[in-house]
Point group: C2
Chain length 426, copies 2
């Protein structure tokens, strides 16, 4: 068996609490996954990731990017190392994306055919080819607990016809992904490690061995596409549900559309997905968004935002009673290299926001001896002041990126813990 | 009282074991200080620094650079923040250098007069002036447990006459440093924090408050100069001893001279320094050197080498029985940005070296599942493989610099722990 998912009844808002059981452990849902693009959540040691957040529970699951890892160090190398868990010494559950989104957003000179995508690496211009079968082969070599079907990501905005054609390709690729996965899932590199389990049991947690021996194969999720067209989203959800995936993602969102549209598409699509399966929205979002989507019934999310923002000095903190986001404090976000600058103003003037954003480089923090967030219990807020973090940022000291990332991730994990707490009371 | 130093009898080789009691705690001697140039040991969180090394004792004392901190964020700011301990949340002992070495090695357009040194910042070209009095004022504002007298660092090689003239200036500046310090030492910012001690006692360790209430003033060390001339070294040691400093440093070494000369100057100078005071060699060295100098009777050392090497992928490990440094594995060290490339070959073909250097970027480590050093118990060697560290380095992931730095520092601290163990058995 791949995964098992225990899920409670939906609250009035649609949110539900549950537990996702995977080969490398159980994860409380709904949850947020930090992004570990190149087999590392940038600037944060694994032992820290295991400890941050509410009750020091740490991040229960992280995501890694198939596109980046296949280019460097290469999935064959990671397979020989026993898979990604063992390679990066992360004993807990992981998810890999299909590589599709990065092929369409990062790679050069793409050529899409029914067969797959030919592209050149953004690192060295070398030529590569991704098909559904190849994405599966790579993701099996990486050995994450959850893999994603290979999909086409359509440019945005796109016409109804263009979106429908692309969705058709995504469905054909989803079927091919599933067929390949079903016949090759025993090739996951964990099985090669089994003999070593008893020998070196004390080290087993760092060897990337499955903790849960009853569910030791990977799981495959399908990805609903259909752009901003409700009729296409419905068709996509129905087609994928017929294929019976282990879980379902809602893809192609947060690509520049207004946040109200994102929310609307999520709400409508959730209604169409099987209720007994985990539902995952990829690549979101700001604190207000992840809380809102979780309350609507999304079980899983991931985003580079907390770590990327951290490296640019953008920190999240708990609002004071009645406080709203000030425009001044958000100045400079556009320079911060976000993929989706339009989103950076979400929450502006919103009442009761989940977070206030602060730009640590602002001079008003130069002698501010408070922690980033007095309401936060993360290791950074317990120990360091805004004044010190501003100094590290201004001096371009690497410790700044590390401490800022730890805080922002802890802030995100805490939000999800609070939302889970609300849901259990329903 | 500033410091107290308990020191045992010298071993046959001259080494001695002791304990240095400072306002922020006691330090077992001989010891090595990691360098925290800009109020951070680059890429390593303070909570990690507190735990690495033998028995998880951590680094007991770190050094910060006066020159860098006065330029950014400025010593007045740090004074207002309560001093460096509190600013960077480092509750243990610290030492600040005088700024002299960096003024002479980093700053632009220096002009030296009897009064002091005028120079331009390497950061922004702004004009600054350092005199002995100003260095003391800055170091008192920073509030480290140990401060250093302001000295001139002569270029190398230098003639006997040039070296003697410079030494004369260093002696005059040492006297002025001490005079200023004696009349201003009550200005250390800790005293301003005293009222808050009882109020927030649970936080006191992070507030930079002195732990040892019987010794709450800073200490001032003199710096012996005299270049490579034994007669001048003798004169310098005698003149400084007459001034009665709390401890004595041997400066102007490891600036490009052959290692045998460094060793010889240290050996001769140690004989001339008061035996009941701590003796400090600044800016050294490789693992073999720190072990050797400690066995000769040096009590304190500091060096950027373990952390700078780490950021360039150069790692230290325990030799296997009979192993010598291979030339191949050291290839690339010259590109690594060391100040003193001549030194990087120390230990070549030496029997029983204290360490083997490995260049983690070498392809032979790409699939090496061993830890950096199987004999090392640091958190990095307990968890991560060479293959993973090589991947992080090749992908320029910031976690690589962090993990490499943690290991190299732990390796250095372990060496000192072993030397202390040898000395106690004498």
């Amino acid at each position: 068996m791949a995964l098992s998912f225990e899920v409670g009844a939906a609250s009035q808002s649609g949110g539900r609490r549950g537990a996702l059981h995977l080969p490398h452990g159980a994860v409380q849902t709904p949850f947020f996954m930090p992004v570990g693009t190149a087999a590392t959540v940038k600037a944060v040691p694994q032992e820290t990731l295991e400890q941050i957040g509410a009750d020091s529970a740490g991040a229960e699951m992280v995501l890694a990017n198939t596109y980046h890892l296949t280019l460097r160090p290469g999935h064959e190398l990671i397979r020989r190392m026993g898979g990604l868990h063992r390679f990066m010494s992360w004993p807990r559950p992981m998810l890999t994306d299909s590589g599709g989104f990065q092929v369409f957003s990062l790679a050069k000179l793409r050529k899409v055919t029914d067969e797959g995508v030919e592209f050149r690496s953004h690192l060295d211009g070398s030529q590569h080819f991704f098909s559904p079968e190849h994405s599966m082969e790579v993701q099996i070599a990486l050995g994450a607990d959850v893999m994603m079907a290979f999909d086409e990501c359509v440019e945005t905005p796109a016409t109804w016809q263009r979106t429908r054609d692309s969705m058709g390709l995504t469905h054909a690729w989803a079927k091919r992904s599933k067929d390949y996965f079903e016949t090759h899932k025993d090739e996951v590199p964990w099985t090669k490690l089994e003999g070593r389990h008893s020998e070196r049991s004390s080290e087993s947690q760092y060897l990337g061995l499955p903790q849960n021996l009853d569910s030791r194969t990977q799981s495959l999720f399908g990805i609903v596409q259909g752009g901003m067209y409700p009729d296409l989203r419905r068709e996509s959800a129905e087609r994928l549900a017929e294929m019976e995936f282990d879980g379902y993602a809602i893809g192609g969102l947060a690509v520049g559309e207004p946040p109200e549209v994102t929310r609307e598409i999520i709400a409508r699509t959730l209604e169409l997905l099987p209720r007994d399966r985990p539902r995952y929205v990829m690549g979101v979002g700001y604190p207000d968004q992840i809380a809102e989507y979780a309350r609507m019934g999304v079980d899983m999310m991931d985003c580079v935002l907390p770590t990327r923002a951290a490296r640019h000095g953008l920190l999240f903190r708990t609002p004071e009673p009645g406080e709203r986001q000030s425009v001044e404090d958000a100045i400079g976000e556009e320079e911060s290299g976000f993929d989706r600058p339009g989103e950076s103003w979400i929450g502006e003037n919103r009442a009761d926001p989940a977070a206030i954003r602060m730009n640590i480089k602002r001079v008003e923090y130069a002698e501010d001896q408070r922690p980033i967030d007095p309401a936060c219990a993360c290791p950074v807020c317990r120990r360091y002041t805004r004044a010190y973090l501003r100094h590290l940022f201004m001096a371009r000291e690497p410790l700044g990126a590390t401490l800022n990332s730890i805080h922002n991730l802890a802030f995100y994990l805490d939000i999800m813990e609070r939302v889970r707490g609300e849901l259990v009371q329903v």
